[in-house]
């Protein structure tokens, strides 16, 4: 404890610890906040995220559920309508397919459909992404599904600090918010404030500034893009790296400004290319005043249009790696 009680200290935490800290602080601050999901209690969550929260807050508020994703999300919708602030954990984002009616037809639409008479303040946290050898039904990146639905907010934290700050903002939000965490990030460490600072939804983070190319990346691709940018710098190419952080609402202005300055955009996502969220970002860029400043076609580097395979060498080949980003960015700069 420092002399100034409300001073925020920054410590190094893992992404999973940062999420847990946000959950704990939100539950301490607001009795309406509770967790429900499969194995979130004594087990501590499939990826250990909820950890010891059941010991701190009890089994009522850290509620283990049967394997029943549609029921779990529906219960959260009902609890939210009745004045609570539920936070659902779905073990793998792939399993949201089991719960889509409640997410898409209920949670997302109720506020609008009822003419504003009701709100659904709930959060659905779920990890996406490949890289763990879990194959096609446990490795998808489904952010575009959710981002396509008016009424949902969609958050993709890429750092431990954002994992905490964006989650706190999501819990405050009066709307249903889908928080897509990433399995490979859970053990990644970084500085995290110990206070309950929110990271506002809808602000693109500029992770690095360089004048030759703008790399826009989401999720685990942010750290890969930053690593690629270091390599590119050693080759004399200066890259800006932008992390939208929230896909809905999307701060496209920061992206447009950066592309206006660099004249080149490389958009990197783990999800398959076709119909992916980077297609939306590409469209926003070419629809904007940045179009006239483009020195190269807008380029996308995405996952292959395949289900995520099992074998490690196949899995690696299916999604962008650091060297792919380096190659694509340098080609973009050198060719145009």
């Amino acid at each position: 404890m420092t002399a100034v009680l409300d001073a925020t200290n920054t410590r190094t935490l893992t992404y999973a610890e940062a999420v847990r800290e946000a959950l704990g602080q939100a539950m301490e601050a607001d009795e309406r906040v509770f967790l429900l999901g499969e194995d979130v209690g004594t087990y501590g969550g499939a990826f250990g995220v909820t950890g010891d929260l059941v010991h701190r807050f009890g089994e009522e508020r850290v509620r283990d559920t049967p394997i029943s994703e549609l029921g779990i999300v529906g219960a959260a919708v009902g609890a939210a309508l009745a004045g609570m602030r539920p936070i659902v954990e779905i073990q793998f984002s792939d399993f949201t397919a089991q719960a889509m009616d409640q997410i898409v037809n209920q949670a997302a639409k109720i506020h609008f459909m009822l003419g504003g008479a009701a709100t659904v303040p709930m959060v659905l946290r779920t990890p996406g992404g490949s890289g763990t050898g879990a194959a096609a039904q446990h490795s998808q990146s489904l952010e575009a599904w959710f981002a396509h639905v008016p009424g949902l907010k969609v958050v993709m934290p890429a750092t431990p600090a954002d994992a905490k700050g964006l989650l706190l903002a999501a819990i405050d939000d009066p709307n249903p918010v889908i928080v897509l965490e990433h399995k490979l990030l859970y053990k990644q460490s970084g500085p995290v404030p110990d206070g309950a600072e929110r990271v506002r939804l809808g602000e693109t983070a500029v992770r690095r500034t360089g004048g030759d190319v703008t790399i826009v990346a989401t999720g685990v691709m942010v750290s890969r893009a930053l690593e690629a940018a270091e390599t590119l710098a050693s080759q004399g190419i200066q890259a800006s790296v932008l992390d939208p952080r929230t896909l809905r609402p999307l701060d496209d202005q920061t992206i447009v400004d950066s592309v206006t300055a660099t004249g080149r955009a490389l958009l990197v996502q783990e999800a398959p290319k076709t119909g992916g969220f980077m297609a939306e970002i590409a469209a926003r860029i070419v629809e904007s005043s940045a179009f006239g400043h483009l020195r190269a076609p807008v380029a996308r580097l995405c996952g292959l249009d395949v289900p995520i395979p099992y074998a490690p060498q196949l899995e690696r080949a299916a999604v962008p790696q650091v060297e792919d980003i380096v190659r694509e960015a340098s080609e973009l700069v050198n060719r145009w």
């Binding site: 779990i72 009902g78 539920p86 009822l114 003419g115 504003g116 009424g151």
Partner: protein, 323 residues
């Protein structure tokens, strides 16, 4: 409560059933004359279920409703003007013209909403029950759904959650014999849908859904158990949908004779006979007239209201939006 012997209760039950009947007849007529747009699902012939069930509830209790939800809404005390205005696509409608017949909710009366998805409201009811339980409240949630919902995954998941957590939810199945054209006989192997309760370790009862007293008694018992922390109950109310599923229904899947035989069991006519010793002819006629007048007034008021506006649509998607 004896709905036939207690004059006030008899009057209220009769008024509610007549209001639902007259409201839906008016809606049917407005649609047929091209004055109403979209689609709607009528519950004519099923009025005893919402009338009997909602009388078992208190202020503060919740309901979840269905695509065939006008009756639940009215029985729970919704404003007819705002309902009619919604159906007539007016700015003064419950949903400001954004929801229509299938999405009317009335949060003031605890109505968490009709639902266009079969069984969509079932897990939501469990969640509202969970909210009550977490707060240590005494409210109860009644979840209305049709026979079709009982074969949906959402139904099983919602009922199971309510059962394992002893949530204060009463599941009221309006078995009107058809899920669109699919008859209960073809869609179920069980004889009575209430048998499904056994699979979740909760009580299940089947009652005459054309008798508001039978519905009321069963739902009252279930509400009592729920308030006492003894968990959910499944009440199957057997009734019949006189009208087609929706506006496109040509009734190809059932016979005229079958429909006629159920019309002879009209829940309203039956109830009027049952209360003949309690209410006078004049009293009964007054209930009818009052329902007719309220519906006429709702049409007048709603028709005069401004049409729903398209100018703020995108602002309406998110609550408390600062973007």
């Amino acid at each position: 409560m004896d709905l036939t012997k207690d004059a006030a209760a008899a009057r209220e039950t009769l008024r509610t059933m007549w209001t639902i009947r007259r409201f839906e007849e008016a809606v049917d007529d407005l649609f047929a004359r091209g004055l109403m747009h979209g689609t709607m699902h009528l519950s004519i012939g099923q009025e005893a279920v919402p009338a009997g069930a909602c009388l078992a509830l208190r202020e503060g209790d919740y309901i979840t409703s269905t695509h065939r939800g006008h009756g639940h809404c009215i029985a729970r005390g919704a404003e007819l003007d705002a309902m009619m205005a919604e159906l007539l696509a007016k700015e003064t409608g419950y949903c400001r013209g954004r929801g229509g017949s299938m999405h009317i909710a009335d949060v003031a009366t605890g109505n968490l909403g009709a639902n266009g998805i079969v069984a969509g409201g079932v897990p939501i009811a469990a969640g509202a029950g969970l909210a009550v339980k977490l707060r240590g409240g005494e409210q109860v949630v009644v979840s209305f759904f049709g026979d079709g919902a009982v074969n949906e995954g959402a139904w099983h998941e919602g009922v199971n959650l309510a059962a394992i957590w002893d949530l204060p939810v009463v599941f009221v199945c309006e078995n009107n014999h058809y899920g669109m054209s699919m008859s209960v006989g073809r869609a179920f192997k069980v004889q009575r849908l209430a048998e499904r309760a056994a699979a979740y370790g909760i009580p299940g009862v089947t009652v005459d859904g054309n008798d508001p007293q039978a519905v009321h008694d069963a739902v009252s018992d279930a509400v009592h158990r729920a308030r006492a922390g003894q968990g959910p109950t499944l009440v199957e109310a057997v009734t019949y949908r006189w009208k087609g599923h929706s506006k496109s229904d040509k009734n190809l899947y059932r016979t005229r004779e079958e429909i006629e035989s159920w019309r002879e069991q009209d829940p309203i006519a039956r109830f009027e006979r049952a209360v003949a010793g309690t209410l006078s002819e004049v009293d009964i006629a007054a209930c009818r007239d009052e329902a007719r007048d309220r519906v006429r007034e709702a049409i007048r008021t709603a028709s005069a209201a401004p049409d729903a506006r398209a100018d703020s649509l995108t602002d309406a998607v998110y609550a408390g939006s600062d973007r």
